[in-house]
């Protein structure tokens, strides 16, 4: 570096003065450029005017969005963020109220029979252009979903309708679907097979209405922008700068508008970074923030009043049942089952409020015949028992004909909690049973690929509910289910799934789910880990926000503001 002689003469002092001048000019230039760019960007309409978290006067709240809603065409939406937005701007035949009961939506009353259903629509339901919401709009939406050209991922959730599956496979025209509009205000539905929870299904976003003339007029762009959507829900979308800003405003045409207390839900921040969202909350820019483990200490220090709820999903370790895999051996699975301790995992390892130890595939929030499913059908509890675990391990080794077990591959994702979970089990199985676990950490699509092709011994998996019936979990291990990635195949379990699918008698169905739960535990088909929770902090002036396991979450349609908490 020091290859040149040093000049320390008056000249360099002059030069320094010169450099400082240059610096001043440069700074001025930089500022000028910023002003110019800021002006240019606001001129192109990319600007987002950021207000404060709450404006009681105008009944406005500001919040962040985890990501850009990828799909607001209700016939094709699948992800959480899109469903959250859709739940506010659209309304189905029925909806869930604040205490998660089904209440009338567009339908005033309804009648579900074993062979079909009838919905009587209210005559004051309106689209945002003032025209009435009719039975034709529902029939059109449902036919569109099943049209193979539309390629809806959620088409299967309409397979209960007559001829639905054949239409989706292109064997029948969409007009053959078992749904007809008997006039503008009566919707007649025919079933392919009896379905006990159809009322719950029609509250789901995929069953929302779509008006044919508008859909056709958008020429393939339905749902792409604010002007490419018609709204019939409590809010309408008045602004959508992709990836940047979503703004919902109260829909003046909504039939039940008097119950909607907020005027504006403004979402000018789109980021999945929980740290950034918490900083925004701390700054008073947004009304609520979901916390991650990293922000929890900070929140405690600031004495924030934390809210928590279960988001409805349950997570577990799945085994690979393909015959060439060691995990197809019952005693090996039993050995692992007897050291599994969800309580320790949740309380000591994950250590986040809102998370609950899982004891069954069926999470605690599900309803049985009358009370909660968990109370009516308590699962067999397997408490950790090292003695039994080692006995099973010896039996497993004998059956498999090995003196020492080769390492098992645990496939997992790249999220922080998945890491903790995998390392915990690696440590646990090695410490308790001397079984070596090799963690195979993969990003989303690669993990799915390996799950589907069966390239694992154990995989950390989970399931979020589609509808509020135990069947959303109950058929996961049926031999024909594509989500049964370990290829578990048990005719006894399959029989119970068929009963649960085809019966309409609540008692018979819940008994079947009870049996499924028993088989899963006795056969050690999977190891339940945790029911996922959500910890959040919210401005105390905002009230009436509803969180739920199934459906729109969070739901601001009944939320309101108070001046002094």
């Amino acid at each position: 570096m020091d290859e040149s002689p040093v000049y320390r003469d008056p000249m360099s002092r002059h030069a320094v003065r010169q450099v400082l001048w240059l610096g001043a000019i440069a700074t001025a230039g930089f500022l000028a450029l910023m002003v110019a760019l800021a002006w240019a960007s606001s001129a192109t309409g990319g600007g987002s005017l950021v207000g404060r978290a709450i404006d009681v006067e105008t009944k406005t709240i500001t919040r962040a969005l985890a990501q850009e809603p990828p799909q607001l065409d209700s016939t094709r939406a699948t992800d959480q963020v899109s469903l959250f937005v859709l739940g506010h701007i659209m309304e189905g035949l029925l909806r869930y109220d604040a205490s998660n009961r089904l209440v009338p939506g567009v339908a005033e009353r309804w009648d579900v029979r074993p062979d079909g259903a009838t919905f009587w629509l209210r005559d004051d339901a309106r689209w945002s252009d003032g025209r009435p919401v009719t039975a034709h709009d529902f029939a059109f939406a449902w036919r569109t979903i099943l049209d193979p050209a539309n390629a809806s991922e959620y088409a299967f959730i309409l397979y209960y309708l007559k001829n639905a599956e054949a239409i989706n496979a292109g064997r029948m025209p969409p007009e053959a679907l078992g749904v007809t509009a008997a006039g503008d205000l009566v919707l007649e539905v025919e079933f392919e097979r009896p379905v006990a929870f159809f009322d719950k299904l029609v509250a789901f976003a995929v069953y929302f209405p779509v008006r044919e003339d508008f859909y056709v007029s958008r020429d393939g762009r339905y749902g792409a922008d604010t002007e490419d959507l018609l709204y019939n829900g409590p809010f309408m979308m008045t602004r959508w700068a992709h990836g940047a800003h979503v703004r919902l405003e109260k829909n003046p045409h909504y039939w039940n508008r008097d119950t909607v207390m907020l005027n504006v839900i403004d979402m000018p921040y789109v980021t999945s970074d929980t740290g950034a969202v918490v900083n925004l909350f701390k700054d008073g820019s947004i009304v609520s923030a979901t916390l991650g483990a990293e922000q929890l200490d900070d929140a405690m220090k600031l004495r924030w009043d934390l809210g928590r709820y279960s988001d409805g999903s349950v997570f577990y370790l799945d085994f690979n049942f393909r015959p060439e895999r060691l995990t197809s051996n019952l005693h090996l699975r039993k050995a692992l089952q007897y050291v599994n301790d969800p309580g320790e995992l949740v309380n000591k390892v994950i250590a986040l409020p809102g998370y609950q130890p899982a004891v069954s595939l069926f999470p605690a929030w599900l309803t049985g015949v009358e009370r909660s499913f968990r109370q009516e059908y308590p699962p067999l509890t397997i408490s950790p028992d090292l003695e039994k675990a080692r006995q099973h391990l010896e039996l497993a080794k004998r059956e498999l004909g090995v003196a020492e077990l080769p390492p098992l591959v645990l496939l997992t994702g790249d999220a922080p909690i998945a890491n903790k979970q995998a390392e915990y089990f690696q440590n646990l199985f090695s410490r308790a049973l001397g079984i070596e676990i090799r963690i195979d950490k993969q990003i989303f699509k690669q993990r799915l690929e390996k799950m589907t092709s069966g390239d694992f011994d154990i995989v950390a998996a989970g399931w979020g509910p589609d509808f509020a019936d135990p069947l959303t979990y109950g058929d996961l291990y049926a031999s024909w289910n594509g989500n049964n990635r370990g290829k578990y195949n048990n005719p006894e379990l399959d029989d119970q799934v068929r009963i649960a699918q085809n019966s309409v008698d609540p008692r018979t169905r819940m008994d079947a789910f009870g049996e499924i739960q028993r088989i899963l535990i006795e056969d050690a088909v999977h190891l339940p880990n945790y029911e996922r929770g959500n910890v959040y902090v919210q401005d105390p002036r905002l009230k009436g926000v509803v969180h739920r396991a199934v459906g729109t979450d969070p739901d601001y349609s009944q939320a309101y503001l108070i001046e002094n908490p």
């Binding site: 290859e3 240059l22 910023m34 299967f156 940047a244 701390k282 989303f444 699509k445």
Partner: protein, 310 residues
């Protein structure tokens, strides 16, 4: 000059084609299924999806369709945002990345040249040590740390002032741009400072500076006309690639400051195996980078007449 420009542009086009082809092959070689989702689809639904995106056709045919699309300037429809065209995604989000990038590069270049010149003038004295310490810090601390830290500091500043001096995140006005662009440009500024320092030192000890001093030229004139102009050349060389790197590499800053730039789409598309967005953004960024390098080459001839372009 014209022939040279033409030749460089032709080379650029071939480079972009090469980038596109290699990306296409690599993308299809990566394990994973672009249409797969947590919720397994039935055979039929999967078939419908494949048809919609043309994935049921042989890979060679998909390649031809894709190249044909590029020639028509149409990158197709995103896999994850199924009713948005990739062209729209680039058109709406690139200006944001570009604005952020231009600001960051300007900040980096001005700061780098200024501080580099200062360290050279004060070599082995206190200002030199202080700045070089900061430079090493700037190079070694990753941007997600700097981004998160600066955001945290902002929150505290706003809280202690009692009003919002600068917004913590978001995009749209000048006030939103200041902190993110500085965070984004920090690493490059540190790198340019080092480059400028060594280049200045080399020039300072050269014969023509000694001659200029001997002639009794005013120091300001020596500094501006002789030292700075010669020392700045290596900085200009790396500026082109730096602009491209900064506008494409803003993923973390865009995430932390909730900025709707293209960098986020670029990274998320790769994670989600969103074929059309991967191809669209890669080809677009490739073309952008190549044109930046060409522009710098042409600029070079203007700054330094010794460089013969022909």
């Amino acid at each position: 000059m014209l022939a040279y420009t033409f030749k460089r542009i032709l080379q650029g086009i071939i480079t972009v084609w090469f980038i596109a082809t290699v990306t296409f092959i690599a993308m299809h070689a990566v394990p994973g299924d672009p249409l797969a989702n947590e919720r397994a689809t039935t055979e039929q639904i999967r078939l419908n999806l494949e048809q919609r995106y043309g994935l049921d056709r042989p890979v060679s045919e998909q390649y031809l369709v894709f190249i044909g699309g590029i020639l028509r300037g149409d990158f197709g429809i995103s896999f994850t945002q199924e009713n948005r065209r990739v062209n729209d995604i680039i058109r709406e989000n690139f200006p944001v990345s570009a604005t952020l990038g231009i600001l960051a590069v300007t900040f980096a270049a001005l700061g780098g040249i200024l501080m580099g010149a200062l360290t050279a003038l004060f070599r082995n004295r206190l200002p030199d040590f202080v700045i070089m310490f900061l430079v090493i810090l700037g190079i070694s601390v990753p941007s997600f740390v700097v981004a998160a830290l600066s955001q945290l500091v902002l929150v505290d500043i706003n809280a202690s002032l009692g009003f919002s001096l600068l917004p913590v995140a978001g995009w749209g006005t000048l006030r939103h741009m200041i902190v993110p662009s500085m965070v984004l440009g920090l690493g490059t500024m540190a790198y340019l400072t080092r480059l400028m320092r060594s280049s200045m030192l080399e020039i300072t000890s050269s014969d023509f500076i000694r001659t200029a001093r001997a002639k009794g030229l005013p120091p300001a004139r020596i500094f501006l006309k002789h030292q700075l102009r010669n020392a700045i050349l290596p900085v200009v060389t790396v500026l082109g690639p730096a602009i491209a790197a900064i506008t494409t590499g803003g993923f973390v800053v865009e995430l932390v400051f909730a900025i709707p730039g293209l960098g986020r789409y670029f990274v998320e598309a790769v994670q989600q195996l969103d074929y059309t967005v991967i191809m669209g953004t890669t080809v677009f960024y490739g073309a952008f980078l190549v044109s930046m390098v060409i522009v710098v080459d042409l600029l070079y001839g203007w700054i330094d007449p010794r460089v013969r372009l022909e």
